[in-house]
Subunit: 364 residues, 4 copies
Amino acid sequence: MAGNTIGTLFKVTTFGESHGKALGAIVDGCPPGLTLTEDYIQEELDKRRPGKAKGETPRKEKDRVEILSGVFEGLTTGTPIALIIYNVDPQSSAYEPLREVFRPGHADFTYFMKYGLRDHRGGGRASGRETVARVAAGAVAKRVLQEYHVEVYSYTINLGGVEAKERDLGFVEKNHLFCPDPTVYERMLAKIEEAGKAGDTLGGIVEILVKNLPAGLGEPVFDKLSADLAKALCSVGAVKGLEIGAGFKVAQMKGSENNDPICAQGFLKNDAGGLLGGISTGQDLILRVAVKPIPSHRLLQKTVNLRKEEVEIQVGGRHDLSAIPRIVPVLSAMTRIVLADHLLRQLAILAFRARLPFPDFFKG
Amino acid sequence: MAGNTIGTLFKVTTFGESHGKALGAIVDGCPPGLTLTEDYIQEELDKRRPGKAKGETPRKEKDRVEILSGVFEGLTTGTPIALIIYNVDPQSSAYEPLREVFRPGHADFTYFMKYGLRDHRGGGRASGRETVARVAAGAVAKRVLQEYHVEVYSYTINLGGVEAKERDLGFVEKNHLFCPDPTVYERMLAKIEEAGKAGDTLGGIVEILVKNLPAGLGEPVFDKLSADLAKALCSVGAVKGLEIGAGFKVAQMKGSENNDPICAQGFLKNDAGGLLGGISTGQDLILRVAVKPIPSHRLLQKTVNLRKEEVEIQVGGRHDLSAIPRIVPVLSAMTRIVLADHLLRQLAILAFRARLPFPDFFKG
Amino acid sequence: MAGNTIGTLFKVTTFGESHGKALGAIVDGCPPGLTLTEDYIQEELDKRRPGKAKGETPRKEKDRVEILSGVFEGLTTGTPIALIIYNVDPQSSAYEPLREVFRPGHADFTYFMKYGLRDHRGGGRASGRETVARVAAGAVAKRVLQEYHVEVYSYTINLGGVEAKERDLGFVEKNHLFCPDPTVYERMLAKIEEAGKAGDTLGGIVEILVKNLPAGLGEPVFDKLSADLAKALCSVGAVKGLEIGAGFKVAQMKGSENNDPICAQGFLKNDAGGLLGGISTGQDLILRVAVKPIPSHRLLQKTVNLRKEEVEIQVGGRHDLSAIPRIVPVLSAMTRIVLADHLLRQLAILAFRARLPFPDFFKG
Amino acid sequence: MAGNTIGTLFKVTTFGESHGKALGAIVDGCPPGLTLTEDYIQEELDKRRPGKAKGETPRKEKDRVEILSGVFEGLTTGTPIALIIYNVDPQSSAYEPLREVFRPGHADFTYFMKYGLRDHRGGGRASGRETVARVAAGAVAKRVLQEYHVEVYSYTINLGGVEAKERDLGFVEKNHLFCPDPTVYERMLAKIEEAGKAGDTLGGIVEILVKNLPAGLGEPVFDKLSADLAKALCSVGAVKGLEIGAGFKVAQMKGSENNDPICAQGFLKNDAGGLLGGISTGQDLILRVAVKPIPSHRLLQKTVNLRKEEVEIQVGGRHDLSAIPRIVPVLSAMTRIVLADHLLRQLAILAFRARLPFPDFFKG
């Protein structure tokens, strides 16, 4: 049943299928009085558009976001902000042969088992296209965080096994792979081209870095910031792993190595990834997610159809060769949605601690 | 603010501090008519008790769970099941020297930043002891899942770098480290002893395996089963990483390798870890979490106190040498809580699809 | 912060302002496999349209609902159903003089105090127009309830003091006031005309009757069906009172009068209004709500502006003379939304009690 | 399924049955740093104790609340506050004859239909005794509201038809009926005695008055303060009606009468009951609830048993003659729980509007 809403004070609900009429998000709980424009949101959406690969003619971008509510004369009003992106020309006929077949690695089978029927066109609700609504909502969260100077960066640190060593944030936005390491960028590109020629697809790892996050965000014990980030990031289709700070390396660390000592100026290192007891320390937040290779490749695959007959399929159509780079802005968006929510939750505590007064119109 | 409740239909709320009067859980949404005893719950609690290490005299176990409500004449009634475990003899005085000092690797600093004050005794709410309430609640979830033959196993596949290769489930419950590999068990023990002698602590990796899970559990798009499991597992104190199925290995896999082909008898392998589109496939569920070394070791640590003065501390008292094995039953418990919730959520869909009739007392 | 979502398994989120671009609802948790068309939803919307009064030329209806997602080839898919109604030609300039003035009886003042700014055009989010999204969502709930033959009727039993004695359900849909009593209908109409001539507006009482509701809906103790209905109905703008069954008459009843005796064929009367302990008994559900007169009348009113200056205003424009009859389908809609949610919640219990099996594709 | 939790930021979960081991509440989200003692909570509990009637020897009060967590050295810590009240000597044998019989006016039948079984002793979870946990939780909410000088008063304005005209708040706490009118108090007492002699029970009406409530509490559109109060109050067992401000009188009021004009000093009257658009205006909040007569009277009643056989029963044991006065502190408690929650929700908005800074330990 219902599972398309996330957040407590800053709450996001999304809708839409890959080949339906439209996708969108309702952002409920955005504070009032913030400037917000369609252009501001569009800028985030444009980061996830395809067709920016080297040597390629950029396709004319068709995803246009529209604000339907919650903004008045350029300012947020505190009421729900509805964002809509119409699907233009979805070309569903390419999916007709797949109507009764379960594509391996896709949600075709699970949706069928869950619901007894499914929208087979482009993966329906389970399509990567669903994330366009997340990115739109994440742009509103970005606007909220901006007031507190919280900055979220995501970048590709591993693509098909090619690893980035450097973290040059300036370079990240200059290359369409969101690669932070100028010295490996070309190798990543080559890796993708190679996969493309073989008709195959690639996985990778994306790192998320948050700067200027205040200390104190996250709640004991289930709504830890770590837990809510884990949920938000693992709710993105292709994610199969998550690390916080030192991540899986902690398995081989001693307590004396793993603990981050503290001095009068702050923490002396950051293996914790900015979270202690699931609550932000004020250090940089550092997360990493593993992204599986896109299941729609061009090679022959064994599967079954609705009548349990074994068939071989070859998924046609134009598909990305990796969920990276398009997933990168999605991961930033999900991170921001969680942070905006927890920032507001902690503000309620701080406001009470400060006995922040309520305005009184008549006495004021 | 409020963050100590998890779940939608099967909802768990916990309370309690390490050195407070009691810890406990309210399990709301357990179906009626199930046999449930304190012994059944106690059995799970006993799995997380300390003092079972080789050559050690088992300490007299003091954690006794009591059922306060929701069970009548041995059967669950459908109303909230309150479970309480009183703290016996917490010996808080050992923590007096730490009253104004932030222990590195602990939540002392973050709780202080969040709330402006904290219960310094044994970590308060952020103590590993908090998990006793999770295990108690998880036992109720286990009872629910039992009716559908869903089985959850957790075991230690890496302890301080010593890796288990085999997965001998029969062996798991026979050794107190929950090690699934008889051939490395002694090496794990030796590793712990070595750390103990050095005054240090160890991290590790725990794998979670779920058998007989029906297909169709999990909701698009935020309440994916994967996402809710990620939240539940990452809400456990020491967890710093999570993998589903092939996990971080997907970064180096091709789509043609990673996809699990399907034949008339089922899936031909399980790199997906039992989840497609975040919904269960009916295959085994496979998850892994990275557990950081316990931050309370006996070596000198640099830190600061409330007045920002730099101090060196040595954390005294009796502490475990690794969160493993005690975290193992906790991870099973959290997994079961999420699965019970999603099983009930999917039952609502299946019941509607079947137009399951409502009983009519007077006409029936 | 976020407050525009209602429901647990059947969850409705709405958005939109009176003079914004569009209003709409996301219905998340509608079971799959139900036929659902825009015409079906439109039929409900048409019940709340204005301009059907006696002797009046019906205005060309402009509110058209569009389904954006969640329906595929005519059937619900289980994923969120997005419904949108574009605002056509809102004529906001009429509200320009009210930009800095708080209209008495409206939410102008409270929105300003809450948010520090407000969309003054037509009441913004606080307009009665917001209810169009509720009615659209309620139509989906109606479709769900239809499968279990649950029928919801709402009708006007008091308009400006004119009381209906009879409950002729057949007559209700035949007159645009939703009056259930043919003998008072003309008097109600006369009362409205009289108010209109005086430039004033009328309140009233609406009764809600639910037939064929199964027993067992509602949860202890906060999510009682009575409590959730109270919330849903009192969340409708003009509602200032609520009664269940005998309602306020219970204050003067003895226990021996108020209790409904039970015989082998069922309950012998229904002062409880179909709810005992907040859970449905299987009898008819009977609720009544008090609807305040529309605050936008044409007489002079004393108020203040943003600068606390006292001013006299006369609210112009075309306004209804009573929230009745337009609120009647809104109340049905809210009732249905709550009932659909609780029906699904109870189905989860019944399914578990019956150990409803999960389908197994490969073994099945 | 789960329905025993209420609130968003200030969240209350309760448990316990009439004749179980204990009842209690978890209050999650109480701000840190507040003094809180068992005596403070006990004071509220004592207001709902029985045996204070005129001429009666007060029974030794046995309900003692204990704080199990969330308070450290006398101050709230921000973590869940667990409150427990053990049942002492419940004497369940008196209910043995009712094991298989549905008492009219009680939840016996509905719990049986919902769950297929029930705890028949004293009504189980559906007993009025369940409210002891609400009152305990409400005391914590009172402590929160106290910091903002918000005051909640509840008093009996109608008992068995005897109406209070005056509102003497000083008198309210001086008489055990919580009657606000010294001139009718004796008549109310006489009415109760008369009912007692006849073996019958009485209903009544309770008014709730809130002073010093800030403007701006409540959220559009479903989480209106009015809606959340309606839910909270209608979740109390015997409540069958609710009024806000003028309540059902609005049915006969004109818009020109009902609207509250505004002048530079404030509102000129308060028919709105302190709520416009469901958001608090800063005026007094005024609510009224109708309380049904206690269904356990001593006269013969027709009913059926589990085998659908018609039987006549006479409910024995010692029962109150009216839910009033014991329900009065319960209604205050529920009101406070909702207000504390919405106060914190609005503080998050105000804090953001003020860009309330986060503390920085190392730079601060």
